[in-house]
């Protein structure tokens, strides 16, 4: 269903998500985010190959927003496909998360912060 890879790239953790995130596969995303959040580094999430995200998957992202903000950890997601982008924006997440078009833009946003 979903393939999640997490690597450390210098100053930040890069998580790439591939496939679909539904209620059952959202646990893997949760684990990856938890580890990244604990590292204290800036987090970069590559969603270029994310085809679908269910409300349970969005719930995982949402559940980390508060903690990350409290710990002043930067998080940028990038490369959202049109449909995924739409899901994020319908929910209003663009107000709470930094969403970039490309990896380059995302890295730039992270470095500025």
């Amino acid at each position: 269903m979903v393939e999640i890879n997490a690597i450390t790239q210098g100053e930040h953790e890069l998580i790439s998500v591939k496939g679909e995130i539904d209620a059952s596969s959202s646990i893997e995303l949760d684990n990856a985010l938890k580890e990244a959040a604990e590292s204290g580094k800036k987090i970069l999430i590559d969603l270029q190959e994310l085809d679908y995200i269910s409300s349970a998957g969005l719930g995982v992202f949402i559940s980390y927003l508060e903690d990350l903000k409290k710990n002043n950890t930067q998080l940028v997601i990038f490369g959202l496909q049109e449909k995924v982008q739409e899901v994020f924006s319908i929910l209003g997440l663009q107000h709470l998360m930094t969403i970039a078009d490309s990896k380059q833009e995302a890295e730039q946003l992270l470095n500025e912060a």
Partner: protein, 697 residues
């Protein structure tokens, strides 16, 4: 015996009882008569010889009666000594011990006689000597023959076809030696030695059949060593006594000149000696054996509690294989009656099954074979004899699953009486193990469609349905219809409408994140919040802020709710609303025939759990006209995917709406759903979906 009554018609049973008793009595009578005649004729011949009376009496006569006596005693003990079984090994040996004790006391009295009367005339009289010798012969015959029969029973414990053939040969040769003895061969003559070597060879081979020893526990082994040792002492004593008689040279017939008796002595001593040695060597291992047995029992208990990971076919194979090897079966079959009947045979053509079933006589086994078994399982009763050209013995064990007979396991042997209770115990252990594995399969199957679970969900379903309004409040200014379907028994979609003041309506449609039971609980919370906070004419933005504050405290961290909240003022023909992260409602304008998205900015409830949320709440107001239509829906509709993985999407929903826009409101709703179903074809929906349509008059 009481049970035997049930198995046979009374008259058959009685005739069997009588004939057995009669046989025992007849053989006893024949034995006593033979001894009397043997003694009479032998002494008579002695008399004739001594006084040289010219009587034509063959010396064969006493020899013949000695032989008939031996045969009678043999038959007597064949009828009285029971078959060897693990519970009676020690009883059998006890029998040998007691018989030996009684006969030895008799023999000792004879020795006492010679001791007391020493060199007196009476003790040197050939008549006295021969008469006492005949008594001794009687005692020796009783002891030797009874011991021989017991040894036979022990040797034939768990017999095989080969063993039976060899034993039969041994008995025939022994019978031959009895006839051979009639011709009065002398001890250690050539013929005598030849016969003895043949018998000795056979005895030696047979003497190594000691399977029964393995079934004795530590204490029983010591007991059997004691009994056999004492039996050996009796034999030694008898031999001494016989030899001392032999040395008097006064004997008319010397027992030691007879191959039969010498062979019998040899056989009995040999088997006793080997049995003692084997038992001794088995002593240190018996505790290990007992422990292993206990381990096996424990293992069984353990394995019964674990659901087996194999398929039913594998279980059948294991059951057949292990059962056959445990009882040395020549053939077997396994029958299972389920949705599909199964018949697996081993070393047996399938056609033979019907013949074998027909040849079973015991009613108990017949009941098992006919699936009528409902009694208590008795291991001795499932062993039976069959009247079949290829097989003589049968074990039939019922396979019970949840107290219901599901099948049978049948094991066959070519020889009669081949099975015993221990074998059945092992088999029934295997069967009960297999039954439990089969039961597990059944349970797993049942769990999928578990009735109770379904019942619980039905309750949850009906509770949840009651959370959705059964009728939608409205007035003459608008009509409203709604449709909701959950992917699971319980769902997380919510819609409702209330009229806090005449002409003012608060309408909500909401979607709880996730699905299933937890979503349903959150939906119930949403309903509570709506019914407490929307009972006034506060504008939508106030409601949404308050709802967010309320939900922030009760939703778990990763849950959120999207909603669209409308306030319809039917007096002002006004519609004000807030979109809280929910998929945008569609608004159809009748005058322009255009559908627009109400996709103003907004944030889902419970996403931001503090007052910062408030800044994202944006209220909008619009006016409506007659014929305008509002379509609220949840993302279950637009995100529904067909088998090609294509989403239904907003565009298809818009097109569908336009196609049905002129239909009555209920038909329009049905039309929207039908269009969605056509797109999905047979694919099941995997999310909850809800439609609410409002048409203004």
């Amino acid at each position: 015996m009481g049970m035997a009554f049930l198995l046979y018609p009374t008259h058959v049973f009685l005739s069997r009882m009588v004939s057995r008793k009669l046989k025992i009595r007849l053989s006893l009578l024949a034995g006593i008569l033979s001894w009397l005649l043997f003694t009479f004729f032998d002494l008579y011949l002695l008399f004739v010889e001594k006084y040289q009376i010219n009587v034509d009496l063959s010396g064969l006569l006493p020899q013949t009666f000695l032989t008939t006596m031996v045969v009678s005693v043999l038959f007597y003990y064949r009828y009285t000594v029971t078959k060897a079984d693990s519970i009676n090994f020690i009883d059998l040996l006890w029998q040998v011990f007691v018989t030996g004790l009684v006969t030895t006391i008799g023999s000792l009295i004879i020795r006492l006689f010679f001791y007391v009367f020493g060199n007196s005339a009476i003790s040197e009289n050939p008549f006295t000597i021969n008469f006492l010798y005949h008594i001794l012969i009687g005692l020796v015959v009783i002891y030797l023959v009874s011991t021989f029969v017991v040894w036979k029973r022990l040797i034939q414990y768990q017999k095989s076809k080969n063993l039976i053939q060899l034993w039969t040969l041994f008995e025939y040769v022994l019978l031959g030696s009895l006839i051979f003895d009639l011709f009065g061969n002398k001890f250690l003559s050539v013929n005598f030695n030849a016969a003895l070597i043949i018998l000795g060879g056979l005895a030696l081979i047979l003497a190594f059949n000691l399977k029964w020893i393995a079934y004795l526990n530590f204490k029983q082994k010591w007991k059997s060593i004691l009994f056999i040792l004492l039996s050996g002492i009796y034999v030694y004593h008898f031999l001494l006594n016989l030899i001392s008689f032999s040395q008097t040279n006064a004997l008319n017939i010397d027992l030691l000149d007879r191959v039969y008796f010498v062979a019998l002595f040899f056989f009995i001593i040999l088997y006793a000696a080997i049995a003692i040695l084997v038992t001794l060597f088995n002593l240190p291992t018996s505790s290990v054996f007992e422990r292993k047995l206990q381990e096996a029992i424990d293992f069984q208990k353990l394995s019964q509690s674990i659901p087996a990971g194999q398929s039913a076919e594998q279980i059948y194979d294991i059951l057949l294989e292990s059962s056959m090897s445990a009882v040395f079966a020549d053939g077997a079959w396994l029958e299972i009656r389920d949705i599909e009947d199964t018949l697996i045979t081993r070393d047996l053509p399938e056609e033979a099954v019907i013949d074998i079933k027909a040849s079973v006589r015991q009613e108990y086994i017949r009941d098992i074979l006919e699936y009528r078994f409902n009694k208590d399982f008795l291991s001795q009763k499932v062993i039976g004899a069959i009247n079949h050209p290829d097989y003589k013995s049968i074990i039939a064990v019922p396979i019970m699953v949840k107290n219901e007979q599901k099948g049978i396991l049948v094991l066959l042997q070519e020889v009669g009486d081949a099975f015993n209770r221990e074998m059945v115990e092992i088999i029934s252990t295997f069967v009960s193990q297999a039954s439990i594995s089969l039961e597990n399969f059944q349970l797993i199957g049942e769990a999928i469609e578990n009735e109770r679970y379904k019942e619980q969900l039905k309750i949850a379903n009906s509770v949840q349905k009651s959370l959705l309004p059964s009728s939608l409040r409205h007035n003459e200014c608008f009509d409203i219809v709604a449709y909701s379907m959950a992917a699971d028994e319980v769902g997380g979609d919510y819609y409702d409408i209330i009229e806090p003041e005449t002409g003012i309506f608060n309408l909500i449609v909401g979607d709880v994140s996730g699905k299933g039971t937890s979503a349903a609980f959150n939906m119930a919370q949403m309903k509570g919040i709506f019914h407490s906070l929307a009972q006034n004419t506060n504008p939508p933005e106030v409601f949404v802020r308050q709802a967010n504050a309320a939900l922030s405290r009760c939703l778990e961290k990763s849950s959120f709710i999207t909603a669209m909240y409308f306030q319809i003022d039917t007096m002002a023909n006004e519609l004000s609303y807030v979109r809280a992260g929910h998929c945008p409602a569609l608004f159809y304008s009748n005058s322009s025939r255009i559908i627009s998205d109400l996709n103003e900015d907004g944030l889902g409830l419970g996403i931001l759990r503090n007052s910062e949320y408030d800044q994202y709440v944006k209220q909008h107001t619009a006016t409506y006209q007659s014929g305008d239509l509002l379509l609220l829906y949840t993302d279950g509709i637009t995100e529904a995917k067909n088998s090609d993985g294509i989403q239904y999407g907003t565009e298809r929903l818009r097109t569908s709406l336009l196609n049905h826009i002129d239909e009555p409101l209920n038909d329009l709703k049905t039309g929207l759903i039908d269009d969605l179903m056509k797109f999905l074809k047979d694919k099941k929906l995997d999310d909850d979906y809800t439609l609410t349509v409002v048409r203004f008059n």
